[in-house]
Amino acid sequence: MTRRTKALAGFAVAAIVINLVPALAEALDTPGFYITFMFTAFFWISQAVSWNILTGYSGYFSFGQGAWFGVGVYTTGVLAAKEGWPFLVALPIAGALAAAFGLGLGLVVFRLRKLSGEIFALTTLAVAFVLASVARLYSFIDGGRGIFMTGTPLPEFLGDFRTAMFRMTFVVAFLTVLAAYLLYESRVGWGLFAIRDDEQVAHGLGVPTFRYKMVALGTNAFFSGLMGGVWALQIGFVTVDDVFNIRVPLFVILMSVLGGMKHWMGPVVGAVIIYTLTDRLNSAGLEDVNQIIIGGLLIFLVLAVREGIYLRMRMRWILTLTVFGTAMAVWTFADLATSLIWDFAYASLITLLAVLLPTRQSVARVLRRGGPATPVEASAAERAST
């Protein structure tokens, strides 16, 4: 398939999902939490994938996800809820403002050679703290009183609240993944991977490192902020402590590391797995030990599958599809669990265990982009000249 047909197919699928899934849910009278489960997953996919565009692609480790997310939340919070702007007008501004903050930070830190490595990570963390203080201090933003999002009017065509959330989070997540994919396949992506491997060498070979790092940081902040803008609605009552905490930055790191940071799909897989597991543990009433279980699983998986789950799945894709398909079918038709989400959670867990089986394929081969290479012998002219 050419890139154009791929893109058209992608948009067609997206349009179908936006319209068909809510209609189907209504027709089948499925429980509302199915939709909630899905749009929360979309939220995490978008956050993890956007984080990975900066950190996975360029290698610059960022704790700034909470800052970009927070700027997004507070932008729609202030503009739509407090000032009464139409929500869909405020939403793009959330993304743009987050991107502006990201680029502002990049302008400073990427210009200073010494601000790399740990110092870069700490700087991004500091940005979130500063923004939290600013939001707390100024009453036109928050002023310590919080913002009620409930009752923010949404356009009719988005449907009821749940459907609207589903549609908006899906569109943002779709665009985030699309951006991650296009960057991955593009010249900018190649440049970023070179920067990740050895920035000095990349620069010397002609990669405009400053510009590319700005693109990565700007894209990261934009999509994180855009999704933050949507997510303000789901939070309902926005407070500084709920928004600018370590939860979002920490989870996106876990999701990306687990899924694999070297491929655009890695964080998608990581986000779905980690969100599904935390959600099911919570729903089983295990909130207290939730983090211990997830933490233990993560340590185990990261040590066992260093390249990330996604690449391992690609190396063993037949096994992965067979195990997941079989498990899903068995659980669904034998009615072993109480809901489809439980079926999915069990099937995912079993698939995870299956892909742990070792493989002899190399990561580089799976990562290879743009199809197999054709080794070329020295041309006749060159052989003659030797």
Binding site: Q200, A202, R365, E382
Partner: protein, 243 residues
């Protein structure tokens, strides 16, 4: 008309003057051997010319453009490339992708599709065709050094700075590398070779430039330069200079 004319290039590290006003001329089509005792500033000069270290003073006119004003990627676009003494390949890419990347950027922009076939040609030229799809960690030092060459050549340079390409190789590999350097030169690339093996450089280069304590102390025809008293003194001490 010289390809590169460096005047009064100065580079300090704290109180140490690594380059103390270097004057260097590189003629188009030359093979310049850059030699000097340890710490004389050879590697620093390479790093300054390729933009890796910002210079403290001086100019380096490369076809009318002052390289010292530019960043590394702009210098690459002007047509100057370098290799590293200790190979620094991109570890998550295959051999072919390493070369494709430098062709995509390099001196001119090229598309991804073009880059793959061009990279294959450069791998063929450097004899790495068989390992094109290998991950980096399966290469020997000799192959890694040739990958450095392939990657630098793929940027389509007019001037190529080779930082100790022979270091760490066995005699057979040294011979192969010398043949490779000659082939690169035959393609019309001007070369600067930094090397410890004075015998090899003298045989290979058309001009010999000797650095000592951050200054060019001799420059000219290799066999003549190597006998100059200053050069002997720099290498062996003043005891031998008049012998």
């Amino acid at each position: 008309m010289s390809l590169l004319a460096g005047t009064a290039i100065v580079k300090h590290f704290g109180g140490i003057k690594a380059l103390d006003g270097v004057e260097i001329t590189i003629e188009e089509g030359a093979i310049v051997g850059l030699v000097g005792p340890n710490g004389s500033g050879k590697s620093t000069l390479i790093n300054v010319l390729s933009g890796f270290y910002p210079a403290d003073a001086g100019q380096a006119a490369f076809d009318g453009v002052d390289l010292l004003e530019l960043g590394p990627h702009q210098i690459a676009a002007e047509g100057l490339a370098r290799t590293f003494q200790i190979p620094r390949p991109f570890g998550t890419m295959t051999v072919l992708e390493n070369v494709a990347l430098s062709y995509m950027f390099g001196q001119r922009r090229h598309s991804l599709a073009d880059a793959r076939s061009a990279a294959g040609e450069w791998l063929g030229f450097t004899g790495l065709g068989e390992v094109a799809d290998s991950p980096i960690d399966q290469l020997t030092l000799h192959q890694l050094k040739f990958l450095e060459l392939a990657r630098a050549l793929a940027t389509e340079p007019r001037l190529l700075l080779l930082d100790e390409v022979l270091a760490g190789l066995n005699p057979t590999e040294v011979d192969e590398s010398i043949q490779m350097i000659k082939r690169i030169h035959a393609r019309g690339v001007t070369l600067v070779i930094v090397e410890h093996l004075v015998r090899v450089v003298t045989a290979l280069s058309t001009t010999l430039t000797v650095l000592d304590q951050g200054l060019v102390i001799a420059e000219g025809e290799p066999d003549a330069v190597i006998r100059q008293p200053e050069v002997v003194r720099a290498y062996l001490g003043s005891k031998w200079a008049n012998a």
